[in-house]
């Protein structure tokens, strides 16, 4: 449950940190990552640092979390970089379509290591503790999508970068919040959704869609856990070190595989309980799709160059890390 974790005894002079995120209190991000991680930090700092979680947007709305941490509304925040578009221009490189991520482990390793290498200006106003990813997303639809032709003019719910992706593929992106998508899918206002398969179970989209087309080159979302800079600097060097070590451990052991595990249970639910059908595109078909979204990466490089960044270098970093980790985690 939310709130103070059991087993955290408050010490005299202990620091209490409010953590804000948007996942429901029952979500694995809370139960398997945030709660155990907070408990481990409390133990590692000998009860001097206590983290209190506020899940389900009770403290901050998803798109206000990063800014809220900068301004001290929350001490720590967990959310997505892409909820505030334009705020993190460099990090968009990790979510661009056209890069294949085998799974969330690959995507998470690429993002976290890439961010450390690039160290962009846009994240210097907080203490970034961890970045992990959903990894690939898929198309789930009410009618089978076997080829590009099936996708032409099809109304698919997508926002932000994914809307651009679908447009490039010839579909009709319909932006709406995830909370509206269930109703819209159920009545056929939109015919599909491009998202991680976790949504099939978490948001019950398997109840209202029948087909799942695998598209591991179209989608990725980065999550951050970050701390208010003043709060971080107020901690003793020993506590800082302890927190960094715990975070490193939880990144490797829990965070990077969080979405893979969810995908597994969601797919089991979708296929076994809801009878969804899986569609795998042929290699030839995949290259047709990738060719259509590749220009988005070129656009990115051009735009970043115009803004004075090393556009190509950023893209190359992502590419080479993706190659490296796709080999490591099949």
């Amino acid at each position: 449950s939310s709130g103070s974790s059991p087993g955290q005894a408050k010490k005299q002079g202990a620091v209490e940190l409010n953590l804000a995120h948007f996942f429901p209190a029952t979500h694995p991000a809370e139960t398997e990552l945030i709660q155990p991680w907070a408990k481990a930090i409390s133990e590692a700092t000998d009860g001097q640092v206590i983290i209190k979680s506020n899940p389900g947007e009770t403290l901050l709305k998803a798109d206000g979390i990063y800014e809220g941490v900068v301004n001290g509304v929350a001490d720590i925040g967990l959310s997505c970089f892409s909820y505030t578009r334009g705020r993190f221009p460099v990090l968009e490189a990790f979510e661009l379509p056209g890069t294949t991520y085998n799974n969330s482990k690959v995507a998470s390793k690429v993002a976290w290591e890439g961010i450390k290498q690039l160290n962009p200006q846009e994240i210097q106003d907080t203490k970034l503790m961890m970045v992990f990813c959903t990894g690939p997303g898929d198309l789930f639809t009410k009618i089978p999508v076997n080829s590009l032709e099936d996708l032409q003019g099809l109304g698919i719910r997508a926002t932000g970068l994914s809307a651009d992706t679908l447009k490039a593929l010839g579909a009709n992106p319909v932006p709406m919040p995830q909370s509206d998508a269930y109703e819209a899918l159920s009545k056929g206002v939109v015919k599909g959704n491009l998202s991680t398969v976790e949504v099939l179970k978490g948001w019950k989209h398997a109840e209202v869609t029948q087909y799942l087309t695998r598209t591991p080159f179209l989608y990725n979302t980065l999550f951050f856990i970050t701390m208010n800079l003043d709060k971080w600097n107020s901690l003793s060097p020993e506590n800082q070190k302890a927190i960094e070590e715990v975070s490193k451990e939880y990144f490797e052991e829990v965070a990077i595989s969080l979405w893979d595990k969810q995908a597994e249970t969601a797919l089991k639910y979708a296929f076994d309980e809801k009878g969804m059908k899986e569609i795998k595109l042929s290699d030839q078909e995949i290259s047709r799709w990738v060719n259509l979204v590749k220009p988005m990466q070129d656009d990115f490089v051009k735009k970043m160059n115009e803004k004075g960044y090393q556009g190509q270098q950023i893209m190359d970093t992502v590419k080479s890390l993706a190659d490296k980790y796709n080999k490591e985690y099949k």
């Binding site: 800014e67 705020r87 221009p89 447009k167 932006p175």
Partner: protein, 182 residues
């Protein structure tokens, strides 16, 4: 004083008219988007974002005129049993507090918009800048503060004009009169 009332009421009326236009615009946008989507399979990509931001501006710009019409509801039944002078004193304090609070909020919302500009925040899908809409909401809060300034002055004047013995209450607040006579 009368001049200030007239100015503030006039300003909030103009803002409210713009808000009414926003209301029509939102309806037209949603309906046009549905028609384009159903009939031509070509929805307006930014419809959702335009609707959301136009609605925010509509609400923001109405705040002031809503206050002019005493539209922000309050619980009357305790204070209205007190002597008129006590009522006027309480109203002065409450109006002044609200004035300070919303003026500070207007200013802070401006700061918020300024930070969003500096951060380069754009809407998720069509990538239009968000800050201008936040500025407009801040402007609406400023209009609300101005209305509260007039109300504070008005209730303060009552404190001095009323003797401690209660006398018949004036039916209509001057600010409402100004709103009607315009």
């Amino acid at each position: 004083m009368k001049k200030l009332e007239g100015l503030v009421t006039g300003l909030s009326r103009i803002l409210n008219n713009i808000a009414g236009f926003c209301m029509v615009l939102v309806m037209a946008l949603v309906v046009a988007n549905i028609l384009l989507r159903v009939l031509f399979k070509h929805p307006i990509l930014g419809a959702y974002e335009y609707v959301v931001y136009t609605t925010a501006v509509m609400i923001g710009l109405t705040l002031g005129y809503c206050a002019v019409q005493n539209g922000h509801i309050a619980v009357d039944f305790v204070v209205e049993r007190l002597p008129l002078k006590a009522q006027a004193i309480i109203d002065t304090l409450i109006n002044a507090t609200a004035l300070l609070f919303w003026a500070a909020c207007a200013w802070q919302t401006c700061m918020h918009a300024q930070r969003m500009t500096a951060n380069g925040l754009v809407s998720p899908t069509t990538q239009i800048p968000v800050a201008p809409f936040i500025y407009l909401v801040a402007f609406g809060l400023l209009a609300l503060s101005l209305v509260l300034l007039v109300k504070t002055i008005e209730s303060l004047r009552k404190v001095f004009s009323l003797s401690s013995i209660s006398m018949p209450a004036p039916n209509v607040e001057s600010i409402q009169k100004a709103a009607v006579s315009k």
